[in-house]
């Protein structure tokens, strides 16, 4: 399922990525002013075979950054590259199986745990499904259980197992523990850490700086739609707060009406 050695390739690279909010498509009338900027010119590389944590406050654009990687969103300008290939040129369905995502709230589909796993791998048999959930620390007997009956932590681990069934080489974790209690949170961290140690590339988004420090092979801090420099990031980690970052950001990067990025989805 997860290969023992880091996959070849240079990982994920963001080149001057800008994302503006899109209005709903049925809305009548022209939008007032320029749409809010969610990502404001991000340059970043997420290397292979490491666990990279992207930390930032709500609305800093970190979830959007992650959703660009599997093309649940597309940049307004700039490029996102996976192993030196622009993700816009890849088949989106194949891309999403290579770059698997786990969401903030455990997403449970109707039916049993096995039914859930079959969404990722329709042909899976019960035995393989049991192995899959055992690999994330769940009791294999849960395979036949209604997925609705799982606790939050169990459900999220099932989601990780489900994502791994697409045989990804990158795992995108989008605030995957923020809806869980502390025990479940630590369990998910441990599962993910061991996946990282076995060579899976992990991008972990969180607003929790303690968690970030606990997990990260490499830590990236975002604020107001931008990646802050290493000094500012180190200071944020040291004082366990994003509060000082507002001063570290040197005003709008582009003159074309950057508005409050906190309006964007986080």
């Amino acid at each position: 399922m997860v290969t023992g050695a880091p996959s070849p390739g240079s990982g994920l690279r963001f080149e001057d990525v800008v994302v503006r909010a899109q209005p709903p498509i049925a809305r009548r009338g022209a939008p007032v002013g320029a749409p809010p900027v969610i990502l404001d010119g991000v340059d970043l590389t997420i290397g292979r075979g490491r666990l990279t944590v992207i930390a930032g406050p709500s609305g800093s654009g970190k979830s959007t950054l992650l959703r660009l990687c599997n093309r649940l969103e597309i940049p307004t300008s700039g490029r996102v590259l996976l192993d030196d290939r622009d993700v816009a040129t890849l088949d989106p369905l194949e891309l999403r199986r290579r770059a698997a995502m786990v969401f903030q709230r455990p997403v449970v589909f109707a039916g049993t745990v096995l039914d859930n796993l079959r969404v990722a791998q329709p042909s899976i048999v019960a035995g393989d499904a049991a192995t899959a959930i055992e690999s994330v620390g769940l009791d294999p007997a849960l395979v036949a259980r209604r997925a609705d009956d799982l606790s939050g932590g169990e459900a999220q681990r099932m989601c990780i197992a489900r994502s791994l069934l697409t045989d990804p080489d990158i795992l995108l974790m989008d605030e995957a523990t923020s809806a869980l209690d502390i025990d479940a949170r630590l369990m998910i961290e441990q599962v993910t850490r061991s996946l990282g140690d076995r060579g899976l590339t992990v991008a972990w988004v969180t607003h929790d700086l303690e968690q970030a420090e606990r997990l990260a092979d490499r830590l990236v801090v975002m604020f107001a739609g931008r990646v802050v420099d290493d000094d500012a990031a180190a200071e944020a980690v040291a004082c366990r707060s994003f509060a000082g970052l507002a001063a570290a950001i040197d005003g709008p990067r582009s003159p074309t009406g950057r508005t409050d990025p906190a309006d964007g989805p986080s």
Partner: protein, 260 residues
């Protein structure tokens, strides 16, 4: 066979019931007197206009060309109504135009192709009216439900997309639910037809002096026709609309929820 023409005098007498409604509204201070008067007047003007227009179409020899033009106009008007009642649905007007045109074409091909009713203006217009009227209601319900389901279930849809499912696989369970919701009321009303209210076509035929058995047979054909038409429009909208709510690279577009 006795004909039932009530004449202007009959309508004038029926106005007594409007007066009753006005008195009740005044007595109970419902402040609906104006609305009642407006509704009664508007209904009279509309129906008189439609009646004179029908008289032109049905004039001997009845104009088939005008009858089909009438059907086309009904499709357009119904589609405009769909757009107004489903403002949060992107492209509702064009979707409804396509769906209602398909439904009208398919249902009328069956009805007239099999010779269930004779292909003449006097049959084309009322039958098309029933097909389009009922399909219009179902079109509003299914299009709003599809947008509502996909908007409410966005996390599930996106999780499915993130697992590599195509837009059609990822949306299928939710679109299916929306289609069931839109179709069930029509199935229910087909089940209980005749138990509570006598349906319109049958009532009209009986009032016009047709034998009840003959009226029932016509009504049955009409009910089957309507159920088939509603199922067709629900399917066309369900599939067509869900396609529109995804980009070509399998992303769910941002949707607007309008409550109510």
């Amino acid at each position: 066979m006795s004909t039932t023409a009530i004449g202007l005098g009959g309508v004038a007498a029926a106005l007594v019931l409007i007066v009753v409604a006005l008195v009740l509204s005044f007595w109970q201070q419902l402040h609906l007197e104006g609305s009642i008067l407006w509704a009664a007047t508007r209904a009279a003007v509309q129906l008189l206009l439609v009646g004179s227009a029908l008289a032109v179409v049905f004039a001997q020899p009845a104009s088939m060309w005008l009858a089909w033009l009438w059907v086309a106009a009904m499709v357009v008007v119904a589609s405009v109504v769909v757009r107004r009642r489903a403002p949060e649905v992107p492209g509702a007007l064009s979707l409804a135009l396509v769906a209602l045109a398909i439904v009208a074409a398919v249902s009328m091909a069956v009805i007239f192709g099999l010779g269930i009713f004779p292909l003449e203006a006097q049959a084309i217009i009322p039958i098309a009216g029933m097909i389009i009227g009922n399909s219009m209601g179902a079109t509003v319900v299914v299009s709003r439900r599809v947008v509502g389901e996909l908007s409410d279930k966005r996390p599930e849809v996106e999780a499915r997309l993130a697992l590599g499912q195509s837009w059609s696989d990822a949306s299928r369970p939710y679109v299916r639910q929306a289609m069931r919701t839109a179709l069930l009321p029509q199935i229910e009303s087909t089940k209980v037809v005749g138990l509570i209210a006598l349906p319109g076509a049958m009532t009209g035929l009986i009032l016009a002096g047709v034998e009840p058995r003959d009226a029932v047979l016509v009504q049955l054909a009409v009910m089957y026709l309507i159920l088939g038409s509603v199922a067709t429009s629900v399917t066309v909208i369900g599939l067509g609309l869900s396609r529109r709510l995804f980009t070509s690279d399998h992303r769910l577009v941002r949707l607007e929820r309008v409550t109510g």
